[in-house]
């Protein structure tokens, strides 16, 4: 059964950029969410293998999503994809259990390398 990947970003452009940046060999069903609350609704209702998570979002931001994932012990890979590149923020999300931090706009080589490293492709 193919993996389900969740792309969570409030921007349609960013969601489309993310979809297009995914390696061709990545075999997954893609679902999307436009803010953190929507993402949690998806995560609580279906099996998701990996989340590509934006940080700066309305309703609930990416840090809030990571905190909920940790608190509810959800079994999901999180790759943060954000414009908030401050070292302290990168450290914060990694401490909360994110696998990797990828700076926007997404570099496809970096994304592929990270996904390969964690066996996603």
């Amino acid at each position: 059964m193919a993996l389900t990947a969740l792309i969570c970003d409030d921007s349609l452009l960013a969601r489309n950029q993310m979809k297009k940046s995914l390696p061709a060999e990545f075999d997954a069903a893609i679902v999307t969410a436009t803010n953190g609350l929507e993402a949690l609704t998806v995560l609580r209702s279906q099996e998701v293998g990996v989340v590509f998570l934006d940080l700066t979002m309305p309703e609930l931001d990416g840090v809030g999503v990571l905190e909920a994932i940790k608190a509810e012990k959800m079994d999901v890979f999180v790759i943060v994809v954000s414009a908030d590149i401050q070292p302290e923020m990168q450290k914060r999300v990694m401490d909360l259990g994110a696998l990797a931090f990828i700076q926007k706009p997404v570099n496809t080589d970096k994304l592929s390398a990270v996904m390969r490293q964690y066996g996603l492709i």
């Binding site: 409030d10 921007s11 349609l12 452009l13 960013a14 489309n16 950029q17 979809k19 297009k20 940080l55 700066t56 979002m57 309305p58 954000s82 414009a83 908030d84 590149i85 401050q86 302290e88 923020m89 926007k104 706009p105």
Partner: protein
């Protein structure tokens, strides 16, 4: 008449480019001030430039405000003027963070430095994503310690057609301050910007 309005896709695209530019600017600011900047989604609005003074009257009425202008010139006719607007009492907080001594530096110098940090880093980030590069005019303090800056804003906005309002809240670890950045863009540059946004959108 040429249509200067943006489609929803163009607006979303611009919002995302601005988010990324804000991220770059905040990172610079955070490193410079050795603090952490809490990023929020900046509110952007595209309005007729003539409406700008009225929109800020309520927010800044009767307050000492600082208004600094910075002209920018990019390739392919993309050009305009940014205005950074904030209450003057905030300037003191930033000045303290930047290590300015109240007596040693002129207020104008301090205000232009702040504008440069907040505006230029943002514009450079935006230009980079637009595959463009901006050069800048010397920053100009339009107004400070002045209650009647709305009329000065009117005189400035008069030269332009479209205004891109970006409301930004810089929340640092120890305090926060609000400022408004206004990008004033002439009609032909708006058309250029729309074309660039369409090209970005076509790529995805």
């Amino acid at each position: 008449m040429t249509d200067l309005s943006f489609t929803e896709e163009q607006r979303d695209c611009l919002q995302e480019l601005i988010n990324v530019a804000m991220g770059l600017a905040s990172d610079k600011l955070a490193r410079f001030l050795n603090t952490f900047v809490h990023l929020q989604v900046p509110a952007i609005g595209l309005v007729n430039a003539a409406e700008i003074p009225e929109q800020f009257r309520g927010q800044y009425q009767g307050l000492h405000s600082s208004m600094i202008s910075l002209g920018f010139f990019g390739d392919g006719g993309l050009r305009g003027e940014t205005i950074l607007l904030y209450q003057l009492e905030n300037a003191g907080k930033i000045a303290a963070l930047l290590g300015y001594d109240d007596d040693a530096t002129s207020e104008a110098e301090m205000l232009t430095d702040i504008s440069s940090i907040l505006t230029t880093t943002f514009l450079n980030g935006l230009a980079e994503q637009l595959d463009n590069s901006f050069s800048y005019a010397a920053p100009r303090v339009i107004s400070s310690r002045d209650n009647d800056f709305i009329s000065k804003l009117e005189q400035t906005a008069f030269h332009w057609q479209l205004a891109l309002k970006v409301d930004i809240r810089y929340e640092l670890t120890d305090y926060s301050f609000d400022c408004n950045m206004i990008l004033l863009i002439p009609g032909e540059a708006v058309l250029k910007l729309k074309t660039i946004l369409d090209n970005v959108l076509a790529d995805f």
